[in-house]
Symmetry: C2
Subunit: 692 residues, 2 copies
């Protein structure tokens, strides 16, 4: 029994340390079977299956009925999209639901009943599953011909609940909502007062020719409101003013006042509020991650210290190095870290570890992996060493950049010269010859660099990998071109052969060359700062992007339901319908939503068949353009300012390539949790009952 | 001679204290004649004349030849503008130049030769004057028919050099320029790479029907560049994508990438950089103002301490209270402050003041004026006291708000009902009757409040002043209406009589009522926070607004010179020319510039007669839309965040109405300059030679 207890302690410690590594909460069951289930649930394969399931259920919308996976979006040329038979997508859905049901039951079991009732996310998860399954049954009983599918709108919830970062972010956004609502209310008051003013100002006059403004924009209350709302989005900015302005210049005062107050003040106030709220957001989240890590390590220590080998003085608890060694071998973690910890354990050579020593051992986890490039090969011959010196020198890299620039310029010149030529007059000889020359240079450059640095060192630089990959692709493309069309010669314009025409191949090569030109970025100091900031931002933005996807998805599905069959392509409203016609299909919706928030703005301005669709677009504009963009600005400001301050401090260390993570960015300002906080939290653990 | 020296010291002290009050530099000549000149130069009348001169010379552009002070901007209806005879505006200009010459010579004399050579602003001032005068002579010798008037572009400089705040701000902006330039360079690289990509991607194809994208947007290099630049301003956002998108959905990836990188990342990066640079800007400027104030006071102390009455122990210098009293009586300052200082001087009742005591006396200057409302009248009769209680109660104010809201709603209902009616069908009875009723209520409310609070207390609240003023105007308007058109009755729609038609009068009354509704703002907590922030912002923004006016002016004048006679109103390009036709006139330019930065964006998109005008518009877009708007956001963020933090601290004190200034906002974080810093600065004074 003592052996079993010992085993349990060891495996508890293993799980706690793994929790610490992954920044997970340690509030789960700790009996040996649950621990096995817990490790299984958080194993790579299980989590991968879960992610795949979520991806599949979200991707279903791309092949479900009101969708079109055709290349063109033009209704005139579009072939009917493939219509999956009833039961196919539904079958896949059922499988996904089964996985989710397993997921929710394992999760609920692992945190225990008591915690389950407190966890609103799990309750919502179960509710969503119940609704979805009911909807699924209804769907099948109608043989897939039912009008509305509620479960499609609910799908993004599965994505949301699976990420703790996204849940945290959502909570943050939620706490900003009251203040945002105040500003939105202010905007509404602003809008309604100015609307009344406008209706009184631009009223219908007896002289029918004079009231262009009234006819165009302020005919009645909804029209006026729409005109001014669109003015707030600046979509109809000069146009709405022109009729009144050409009647009397003084009318412009009204529009200027409206725009200054609305656009310049109130809209930017929203930015200020959101930024103010999110100023500490990143720091807070990193701080709580640190707390989780320290807590997991401490929990492992406490568990191990209850092992039999406790020494006489019971005032301070100790952990034997042997037990820790045993635990470490079972823990799944980064190989480098594990090695480092084992090494320091050996160097320390103390038999008993105190809590502080134990924590210190695991500090290796927080350290940056300083990347060391493999050494250059050492050549014996004098000549080779000279070659190595010449081509390993940074100046050779700069020369490469100059050549790449020359290539870009030459392509540009050819493009300008060929701009107005008919395709039949075009001679591909010149471009082909240039490409051939430059690609040979690139190949040479790559080979010489590999010779000088050795393949391993060459590949250890990301910029070289980028370079090498593109050069190889270019080479393959060039060889394929020559194989198909022969070497370039004047009048090199053979007929279409094989997969791509010569012209397309040359174009493709040129595009790759333009893309390859990006290698100059790390060489420019400010640019590389900006680019690393942007890359960091993308890492930190994952949670926000996830929420954005959730919102987009929900909006896209709602849009399809609202506008299904709403638009028929007609003559004169053709152009505006270009989008509307594709709007009732998922991909289009998604792409529209993905970025073109201004589309919503312009949509507000023209008459839709369904009047209340305005509400949809206004909501969309508010969420995507106003709130999300401001969130983005807030995060960017936060990130950039931190980075900037840090750059000034660490100017000297810039040679070493850090693997930058959010945690490391805030290293200097993070507070270590105190012993008391940790122990208090540990004693609140619902399942772990410590002896003391 | 001793008396003369004493007088000199006294007047030096007076001037230094005045410098401290106005936050002026004390580095000027200090002999008695110069002091007299200095006080004269900074007297209210002189400064007022200078400001007037600047206003006049700037305003000249509104009546000079290529201008139009007509009401309509439509070239078809416009009467020819008044053309001032040659010599009139030039005469006014000469007078202005004379004033400026006096200004520059007095300024140069006062700071002394040595300082003059270091002062680049003064040199530039003189240079500007010389160029302007030369240009003026040329102008007159051509009898005002010369083609270019350089001096008109130089005019805003006079505004710029007269404000120390603006000069400081300009310096700040200047120091941000290198980083801004980096981002702009990044934008340029982004733009040019994507342009090349686009030209390769949307090349002309053999199938003429398929290359709509090429025809419309990417025909040649300048076209492609323009298309993408306009896309960066989001002016042609969905349109530019549609032809390619309807050919193949995948093309949207190109546009999405371009917009995400350009608009979302790079543009907002500019915001981040500017905000980062301006984060400490306000604090720094307030800190330097504080230093100037303390320095002025200290200088006065040092000067006074060299008076004969110095006591025996020479270790610490003292100032006699009598001398200070003498000085105080000569100083021009706020009456309240002077009284307070005199009072504390009397209370202190010490004969000799140390430096610290001296500084403490003048701390009154930094204090907020706490506004105390006069007391309510005390009535003897019990009934009157009850009346006073009822109508002085806040609930009566709330009732007033509810009634105002009801009025707004009723106007709104009438507007909606009357929206589609012909003017001839309209019956003004209903609106007239409603207005009549509500205006009587407003009058009653005002009178009852005055009765309850007494006239003085009533007028001491700004919201009551606003209310009362509007009620009085409404009353006058209503009485005028009744006098002209009789009392309202069904079918109340008499013919046009007098200055305004009945309909116009009713509309005017309604507009005033809508405006009066703004009185609810102080009653809503968040709204009042926002409004006070905005008001603060406006105060702090004066320097920025000044620079903006300078830039606008220069751009407007340049625009007139470039586009003089460039646009002739033609049939089909009529609408777009609406603006262009007015563009060669000053007011239009100015109003356009004033706000409608998007105009510039749309201008870039269509073909102008002068191709290089694009450069003008791109520059305009960069300065107005990109840089200025970002500066504005940065300031707003700074202001709002300070205010917000402060609100949390001072929640309890919100009842007292502070006269909020920038200085007070930063009170808690400002650092007092040390004794050593002050003395070091004093010893560096070019003209004042302290004994010790």
């Amino acid at each position: 029994a003592a052996g079993a207890a010992e085993d349990l302690y060891i495996s508890q410690a293993v799980v706690f340390i793994e929790d610490a590594i992954q920044y997970r909460s340690i509030n789960h069951r700790v009996d040996s079977k649950s621990l096995w289930l817990y490790r299984w649930y958080y194993s790579r394969i299980c989590q991968w299956i879960l992610s795949l399931t979520i991806t599949i259920i979200l991707a279903l919308a791309f092949i479900e009925t009101p969708s079109s996976l055709t290349a063109t979006s033009d209704v005139r040329y579009r072939l009917p999209a493939w219509d999956p038979p009833c039961g196919l997508t539904e079958g896949i859905e059922l499988l996904c639901f089964l996985v989710f049901m397993i997921d929710v039951s394992v999760k609920s079991y692992l945190i225990g009943w008591e915690e389950f009732w407190k966890n609103k996310w799990l309750m919502a998860y179960i509710l969503t599953l119940i609704i979805s399954l009911t909807d699924w049954v209804v769907s099948l009983s109608f043989f897939c011909t039912e009008a509305v599918r509620i479960r499609r709108i609910l799908r993004p919830f599965f994505l949301l609940q699976n990420s703790s970062m996204m849940k945290k972010t959502l909570k943050s956004i939620n706490s900003t909502l009251p203040e945002m609502a105040s500003v939105v209310l202010l905007l509404a008051v602003h809008l309604s007062l100015f609307t009344m003013f406008a209706m009184l100002l631009f009223a219908r006059t007896k002289d029918g020719l004079q009231d262009k403004e009234w006819v165009g924009y302020f005919r009645n209350l909804p029209d006026s409101l729409t005109s001014l709302l669109v003015l707030l989005t600046t979509a109809n900015n000069p146009d709405v003013m022109i009729p009144a302005y050409s009647k009397n210049r003084a009318y412009s005062i009204f529009f200027i006042l409206f725009t200054v107050l609305g656009n310049l003040f109130l809209m930017n106030l929203l930015t200020a509020i959101i930024y103010n709220q999110f100023r500490g957001y990143l720091l807070k989240s990193v701080q709580s991650s640190l707390f989780r890590r320290r807590l997991g390590i401490r929990a492992a220590f406490e568990v191990l210290s209850s092992l039999k080998e406790t020494p006489a003085n019971a005032e301070q608890s100790y952990v034997s190095a042997g037990a820790l060694f045993q635990v470490l071998q079972k823990v799944e973690m980064d190989f480098r870290c594990k090695q480092a910890i084992m090494m320091s354990l050996k160097i320390c050579s103390c038999d008993q570890l105190s809590a502080a020593q134990f924590q210190r051992l695991f500090e290796e986890l927080d350290k940056d992996a300083i990347k060391q490039h493999p050494p250059c090969p050492e050549y014996r011959s004098h000549f080779m060493r000279k070659v190595q010196f010449v081509f390993g020198h940074p100046y050779f890299g700069y020369l490469g950049n100059v050549v790449a620039l020359a290539n870009i310029v030459s392509i540009c010149v050819v493009l300008v010269l060929d701009a107005d030529k008919q395709p039949s007059e075009r001679d591909d000889f010149f471009l082909g010859a240039i490409n051939c020359f430059f690609i040979i240079y690139y190949l040479m450059e790559m080979l010489l660099k590999i010779l000088a640095m050795g393949l391993k060192r060459y590949l250890s630089y990301p910029s070289n990998r980028f370079d090498g990959l593109l050069t190889t692709i270019l080479l393959v493309l060039e060889i394929a071109t020559f194989a198909e069309y022969g070497f370039p010669h004047p009048g090199w314009r053979p007929e279409f052969v094989g997969l791509l025409s010569l012209w397309d191949m040359v174009r493709l090569a040129n595009m790759l060359i333009v893309f390859r030109f990006l290698r100059i970025i790390p060489n420019m100091k400010f640019m590389s700062l900006v680019v690393t900031t942007l890359l960091d931002l993308i890492k930190n933005l994952r949670a926000f992007a996830g929420i954005l996807v959730v919102v987009f998805y929900a909006f896209a599905i709602t849009g399809i339901m609202l506008f299904k069959g709403a638009v028929v392509p007609m003559g004169n409203v053709r152009k505006k319908c270009d989008f509307m016609s594709v709007f009732s299909h998922f991909q289009a919706e998604f792409i529209c939503c993905l970025l073109y928030h201004r589309i919503a703005e312009s949509f507000i301005s023209f008459h839709l068949i369904y009047r209340w669709a305005k509400v949809y677009f206004v909501a969309w504009w508010l969420i995507s353009s106003v709130i999300w963009v401001n969130l983005f600005i807030a995060l960017l400001l936060e990130n950039f300012i931190h980075k900037w301050d840090r750059r000034c401090h660490r100017e000297s260390l810039s040679d070493i390539e850090y693997q930058r993570t959010v945690e490391l960015m805030f290293r200097d300002v993070l507070e270590e949790p105190t012993e008391e906080e940790l122990m208090e939290k540990l004693h609140q653990h619902p399942h772990l009952h410590l002896c003391r």
